[in-house]
């Protein structure tokens, strides 16, 4: 295990290991589509954006969907608070990401790939485009890639404009089409009706970057890492109260305790796993594993030590959601405002537990009734912080008596 700051070296497990640019594409052409999908299924690779949908299934559905034109979209709208792993991948390992896209294009029969790059990452646009040009000169992009007749694929980079919700795949597609970035109704899913109404694969940067190594070293090799349900390794963006924040490649299944040791965190009170939309884990649960089946995360790990006021932490998250909700559906648009107002009530000691419980009830509705993942997950931190830190929040800010 290697500590990675801004300049990771190539001796990590999978992503941060040696890779020769273009070799993944070459391998996929040698193997053929079916075998690519087979290896991918063997690897049990799941989406790295946070939702954890099986990548092989997504590709298979898109490959099987009817339609002449298909698209690959790389979701590089890294907006979850506390996440910065895609930035490292795109600046240090564009070969992995773009090769992954080309392989995806080859597998599902797409001729075009789109990178939806976060607006704030505009500074890397030039270098990424230079890299794409280089790929074109080496015939890793363009017509008849690597001499394979009919294997045409090219990549275009589009910039986002700073909306958090555009990281949601259907909102991202709306934004790519030039509309207001708002999630669509599902079903139909993008695998059938995506960009411009065509079957579309939307994958996270890290998911695509994992693909080339799976092809070269085999799905079974990949599945050896991590746990049974969460295979391979994961890039964690670790920030907050620790001595060595940064991006780390660690195997799935590592406990929070172990992570805290690696980054040399002390006096840790809580760890927010999964960014603002994730959940807050208190000290007594630090033996929990980082994995899809336990504490799931798209990569964001935020560490809070004893000096932090958890109510402030929560308020910060809720302010974020109030601002970043797309404003389309009622539970998210109004619900988040109500949660924030509830937090302010606690702050000002103007709350009743009856109302707080009503808000917790509302949280459940938001999780069930919101249109997209934003509203469905925004109550997570509200629920977990109020539950896990009730003594601190209600003793410190309340009248001294906790009524439960």
């Amino acid at each position: 295990m290697l500590t990675v700051e801004n300049r990771p070296k190539r001796d990590g497990i999978i992503l941060f290991s040696d890779y020769k640019a273009g070799s993944g594409i070459r391998r996929s052409v040698e193997m053929g589509r079916e075998n690519v999908l087979f290896e991918l299924r063997e690897s049990k690779l799941k989406g790295r954006g946070g939702a954890g949908f099986s990548t092989a299934t997504k590709w298979m559905l898109t490959a099987a969907a009817s339609g002449e034109i298909k698209y690959i979209v790389c979701n590089a709208d890294e907006g979850e608070p506390g996440t910065f792993k895609d930035k490292v991948l795109l600046t240090e390992y564009p070969d992995l990401v773009f090769d992954g896209m080309v392989v995806a294009g080859f597998t599902i029969g797409a001729k075009k790939g789109l990178v939806y790059l976060r607006g704030e990452y505009v500074y890397m646009l030039k270098s990424l485009e230079r890299y794409l040009d280089r790929m074109r000169t080496y015939n890793l992009l363009g017509k008849n890639i690597l001499g394979k007749e009919g294997f045409d694929f090219d990549i275009e980079i589009r910039l986002g404009a700073g909306a958090y919700v555009c990281g949601e795949e259907t909102a991202l597609i709306e934004s790519l089409e030039g509309h207001r970035g708002e999630p669509r109704n599902r079903p139909p899913y993008p695998v059938n009706t995506g960009y411009m109404g065509c079957p579309t694969v939307v994958n996270n940067v890290e998911t695509l970057a994992s693909v080339p190594n799976i092809l070269i070293k085999g799905g079974a090799w990949f599945a050896k890492h991590g746990t049974d349900k969460s295979t391979g390794s994961k890039l964690f963006s670790i920030s907050g109260d620790c001595k060595k924040p940064g991006v780390y490649e660690l195997p799935w299944g590592i406990t929070i305790d172990e992570v805290l040791k690696i980054v040399e965190a002390e006096n840790t009170k809580a760890v927010q796993v999964g960014g603002a939309s994730g959940s807050c884990i208190p000290k007594k649960c630090f033996d929990r594993k980082l994995a899809y089946e336990d504490a799931a995360t798209g990569g964001s790990i935020m560490i809070f030590n004893e000096s932090r006021n958890m109510l402030n932490v929560l308020k910060n998250f809720m302010e974020f959601f109030v601002e970043e909700s797309c404003g389309q559906c009622t539970p998210c648009r109004v619900g988040n405002v109500k949660l924030l107002e509830g937090i302010e009530m606690i702050e000002n000691n103007e709350y009743t537990f009856r109302y707080i419980n009503q808000l917790k009830d509302l949280c459940k509705t938001m999780q069930l009734a919101s249109k997209c993942g934003l509203g469905q997950s925004s109550p997570n931190s509200f629920l977990s912080i109020l539950e896990n830190f009730k003594e601190e929040i209600f003793f410190k800010n309340g009248n001294g008596v906790y009524h439960g």
């Binding site: 909306a163 919700v165 259907t170 597609i173 709306e174 089409e177 509309h179 207001r180 708002e182 999630p183 669509r184 109704n185 079903p187 139909p188 009706t193 109404g197 959601f321 109030v322 601002e323 970043e324 909700s325 797309c326 404003g327 389309q328 559906c329 009622t330 539970p331 648009r333 109004v334 619900g335 988040n336 405002v337 109500k338 107002e341 009503q358 009830d361 509302l362 459940k364 509705t365 999780q367 069930l368 009734a369 919101s370 249109k371 469905q376």
Partner: protein, 625 residues
């Protein structure tokens, strides 16, 4: 006909793309689902909402509207689908597999109630001080779900200023629930695109380009958004206080004209089903309210037919005989002020195609303040003319600066069906109980041709009845004068009639196939205009376009709610009433003959009629400074 340009509305708000099988009798054409305790079979791709409706299960909705594409925004129609982590919106979920649906679980009820509570918390105002009291979908939802307190509070101060810049549509965004029906109406149904959501999160609001007042954008005033707004956020600019003032003023002679569409729909405001016509009851009610005279707009509709029909014949003659290329064909009708403003904004280079004849409302106003004033020795400055119209754009039309050819404002106030119903209630009158009475002289009863103006295709039918007979001396070759190709709700209709055995004056038309088209709703108008641009319909002679879907019966001033079913019934009521009338052709109306002999002297399109009954248009364009 041509397909609409599909890129205008975002995919998130477009109809579901589920390939429905053509034949539901084949294998795979239908699918069986578990609906609560019942197993039902529905066509593949049916939405859960429709499946429930078929099976007598009521699902509450708010952002859903049968005329509009699906949104799934409000989250009121939630149901549980077994195996899915979250609740699903019934309006947007297509049934494509054997799912199990439950429509009334604890989670469902709780979530629906929460959504209603949240909507109420940001919905400013009190129900009793609202134009939509008792006809508000949010209010009904609150009642259905037993809301007796504001669980999550209630907004105390209004957030937005009321936009009352437009003479037609008033926007009070404090009552908006962000269902975006107006947005979808404007962009998808009407293809105008004035309204859009801006801002994010709790700052989201529906507004115009650059937040400009409605009067300064390309709004065509059709008021379709009003008809589909579930709350009181959008309503028409109500002049009834001014009208009451005029009625109460003994020096004013207040006359009112009623259009056929409000008469076919106003009963809905008094609890009757759609399709109940109350023309004669309305006459009595209006007199009791205090109007000095009650006239029938159909009279001026007949006048319009004479003027517009003659204009068409003149254009045909110039084109065919004199080979004058400056004369534009096809000629468009100009009765619909929504359509007129649409073409002024969107196709300003084609204004020469628009008939110069004023709309029936404006013609009547001009006649009242000249001919009528003379005949009855009333000073035109003391005459107040009110027009009951199914239309919010008529309010804008009567305020056009050029509409004062008599020296006075042709029509002083445009009143919608809804506002008239309010005035009737205010006067303590229950309309259905009124005894029947006719219209006042000197205009009396008009022909049925004017009556059918209310439904899409009606103007064309009325015009053909007159034009054909003027040209050939015979009645139109259709049974019972029913010109079927003009009727029905197809978006764009095209047909033709062969002119044979023409009278000597019109011998130049011998053997000509008179081609005509009918379109309703500005989305279909756009289709027609694009065809014209591409030169595909250069051979067409006359085109009727109405700005609202269904024509005037579906106008923006008509009772709320509206749906295709309601509009069909209103149209049926109009056609049925027309069949029973003794005079069914405009040129047979004796009052028309009289006014041309006595007043206009030289027949249609004479100098005086040009002055009083014709108008000109403004090239507005899309970019308003």
């Amino acid at each position: 006909m041509d397909k609409k340009d599909k890129l205008r509305a975002p995919v998130s708000q477009q109809p579901l793309k589920v390939e429905k099988p053509a034949d539901t009798n084949t294998i795979g054409g239908t699918i069986s689902v578990q609906l609560n305790e019942k197993k039902v079979v529905v066509p593949f791709g049916t939405t859960i909402l429709d499946a429930c409706k078929e099976n007598q299960i009521y699902i509450p909705t708010l952002c859903h509207h049968s005329d509009l594409c699906i949104a799934g925004n409000c989250r009121v129609c939630l149901v549980e689908v077994e195996g899915m982590r979250t609740l699903q919106t019934a309006c947007s979920f297509p049934i494509t597999s054997n799912i199990k649906i439950r429509t009334s679980t604890e989670n469902v009820r709780k979530a629906r109630r929460h959504v209603i509570d949240l909507l109420l918390s940001e919905h400013y105002g009190d129900c009793y001080a609202c134009v939509r009291n008792n006809n508000c979908e949010l209010q009904s939802l609150a009642k259905e779900y037993g809301v007796d307190s504001f669980t999550f509070g209630h907004i105390k101060e209004p957030k937005y200023e009321i936009d009352n810049s437009s003479p037609s549509v008033i926007r009070d965004m404090n009552k908006c629930v962000n269902c975006r029906r107006c947005v979808r109406t404007c962009i998808d149904l009407q293809e105008v695109g004035v309204l859009e959501a801006v801002g994010r999160g709790n700052e989201t609001k529906i507004t115009t380009f650059m937040d400009k007042p409605l009067a300064d954008v390309i709004c065509i005033n059709c008021g379709q958004c009003i008809n589909r707004c579930p709350t009181g956020a959008l309503h028409a600019n109500d002049p009834s206080d001014d009208i009451w003032r005029a009625i109460d003023d003994p020096t004013k002679h207040v006359v009112i004209q009623t259009a056929p569409s409000p008469r076919a729909a106003i009963a809905e405001e008094f609890g009757f089903p759609a399709g109940t016509s109350m023309t004669q009851e309305l006459n009595t009610a209006l007199r009791r309210i205090g109007f000095d005279k009650v006239f029938d707009t159909n009279f001026s509709a007949d006048l319009t037919i004479m003027e517009e029909g003659t204009e068409l014949l003149h254009r045909l003659k110039s084109k065919i005989v004199e080979k004058d290329d400056s004369v534009k064909l096809p000629q468009f009708t100009s009765c619909s002020p929504g359509w007129v403003k649409y073409i002024e904004h969107f196709y300003p280079d084609y204004l020469d195609h628009l008939s110069t004849a004023k709309s029936p409302q404006q013609m009547f106003g001009a006649v009242l303040k000249t001919f009528y004033a003379q005949e009855y020795w009333i000073d035109p400055k003391d005459i107040v003319t009110v027009a009951v119209m199914p239309c919010s754009a008529k309010k804008f039309e009567c305020n056009r600066p050029e509409m004062n050819s008599s020296g006075f404002k042709d029509v002083d106030y445009g009143l919608t069906t809804r506002e008239l119903a309010k005035m009737i209630r205010e006067a303590g009158i229950h309309l259905p109980e009124m005894p029947k009475s006719g219209f006042d002289d000197p205009f009396g009863e008009a022909s049925g041709a004017g009556l059918i103006f209310g439904a899409t295709g009606g103007v064309m039918e009325a015009a053909l009845r007159t034009a054909y007979e003027l040209i050939t001396g015979r009645e139109v070759p259709f049974k019972d004068l029913k010109i079927e190709p003009c009727r029905g709700f197809e978006g764009v209709k095209k047909a033709s009639v062969l002119l044979e055995g023409c009278k000597p004056d019109y011998s130049f038309l011998e053997g000509v196939e008179l081609k005509f088209m009918v379109a309703h709703g500005t989305a279909n108008a756009m289709t027609v205009m694009e065809m014209l641009k591409r030169g595909e319909i250069d051979d067409v002679h006359f085109i009727e376009i109405m700005g609202c879907p269904g024509g005037c019966i579906g106008g923006g001033g008509q009772p709320i709610p509206t749906s295709q079913e309601i509009r069909t019934k209103r149209a049926e009521a109009i056609y049925k009433e027309e069949e029973g009338l003794p005079i069914r052709k405009s040129h047979d109306n004796p009052h028309i003959t009289y006014i041309y002999e006595k007043f206009f002297k030289e027949g249609p399109c004479s100098e005086l009629s040009h002055k009083l009954l014709h108008t000109h248009y403004t090239k507005r364009g899309k970019y308003i400074v």
